[in-house]
């Protein structure tokens, strides 16, 4: 039987209360949202917080909405909310692509967007999707709010910019005209982490790529991002040859490790093929062909 170590439990009903509890209990306290990343880690004793601060009552952080030229996703939005959100799909079909293959339908009822990216598992899909669409994260503490770009949000495996006494509030994604986005993932079975996955977002002006983002999950890409691929794409033509060159750059720039999900060279191959597929679909969507 897998059971977490003894832990104290508190429940926050407002963001200010959550922050006050974090300050009171210090670095051994952890926020718990859906719990579908943290509780399994606690069962394995890989995480051993002394106090859990339950933030499931923060329902006012469960929104997904457009505000100005941004899509704003509250940290407490559940995976199912993002999967089914018409406004998210209208501007960023990459999120529906990704959510369809994250965990399973029952887990998606409970797991949250904020919890997933704060867990920062190197195989986590939304982190790669947010890298591709150039998202920023809003973090609050008792001294105010700060905004962190996704590339700085993920400091390393299981480590984010969210510090002691801080809470992730929302993710903001810039809405740009002429954008298309897509996500491609290969996994062993439903509910498993990716063997490899790639997300792409391209902004076209005619047949020129004026802005591009490529995110990678599970293949050892720094900050989930393939900057080399983006450099190849930016300013160039939106052609199959260019996408192939960018995909090769994505594969060359990542550092997969061999494990039970597959050998490193296979994962590198996946990084290339999935980046190419994601770029094709993203460009087709930008052109309104899909």
């Amino acid at each position: 039987m897998q059971v977490p170590a003894p832990v104290e439990y508190e429940r926050a009903t407002t963001v200010d209360e959550a922050i006050a509890l974090l300050e009171r209990y210090g670095p051994e306290a952890r926020l718990i949202a859906g719990g579908h990343s943290l509780i399994p880690m606690m069962k394995l004793r890989l995480a051993r917080p002394e106090v859990l601060i339950d933030i499931n009552d923060l329902k006012d952080l469960a929104y997904i909405k457009r505000e100005g030229d941004e899509l704003r996703i509250g940290a407490m939005a559940r995976h199912r909310d993002l999967l089914e959100s018409p406004v998210a799909f209208e501007y960023f079909p990459i999120f529906r692509d990704a959510e369809q293959v994250i965990a399973d339908p029952i887990v998606r009822n409970r797991g949250t967007v904020g919890g997933s990216i704060c867990q920062a598992d190197p195989s986590e899909d939304l982190s790669a999707a947010f890298a591709a669409v150039d998202a920023v994260m809003v973090i609050r503490s008792s001294s105010g709010e700060r905004i962190v770009p996704s590339i700085e949000f993920h400091e390393g495996p299981y480590t984010t910019a969210v510090g002691d006494g801080e809470i992730l509030m929302e993710v903001r994604v810039p809405i740009r005209p002429g954008c298309g986005s897509a996500y491609e993932k290969v996994k062993r079975r439903v509910g498993d982490w990716a063997i490899g996955a790639a997300g792409a977002c391209v902004q076209l002006e005619g047949d020129t790529v004026i802005e591009a983002g490529v995110g990678l999950a599970a293949v050892g890409a720094d900050h989930f991002r393939a900057l080399g691929a983006e450099d190849v794409l930016r300013g160039g033509p939106a052609t199959e040859e260019q996408f192939a060159a960018a995909s090769a750059a994505a594969a060359a720039g990542c550092a997969p490790v061999s494990d039970q999900r597959g050998p490193a060279d296979y994962k590198r191959h996946l990084a290339e093929v999935l980046t190419l597929r994601a770029l094709r679909r993203a460009a087709a969507r930008a052109r309104g062909q899909e």
Binding site: P6, G35, A103, G191
Partner: protein, 159 residues
Amino acid sequence: MQVTMTVNGEKVTRDVEPRLLLVHFVRDVLGLTGTHWGCDTSNCGTCVLWMDGEPVKSCTVLTPMAGGREIRTVEDLERDGELDPIQQGFINEHGLQCGFCTPAMMITCRDLLDHNPDPSNDEIREAISGQICRCTGYENIVRATRWAADHPATEEVTA
């Protein structure tokens, strides 16, 4: 700590360790053993129950997190001696063999029908994709769900 929640329409209050998993609370503290305990890793889905109207894997919820929430388990599917159509469907279409995955399968399929009364076979398979039947009776589970979709009211049960 003291935790109060509603389980199958009744308010229950118990003193529990915060680390107690909801699946063990329901089974061992309340004695509602229809909710099964399987893999412990939120993969097999045999511990699914409703929390505030949504199916969740109760091996991955701490009991105090269910405080103040409405829990509904498989024991609540039958009403006044009348089986829910999903239960009748599992009987009629042989949707179970060993029965281990069955309570949670019925909850998920009931929930699907509540939101989508006429699901395709693919939609049923997607809905149960986070749950494992090791008798490999998925085909019959799909048929059982279709049966329930085709017989939404228990009055129509003729078997």
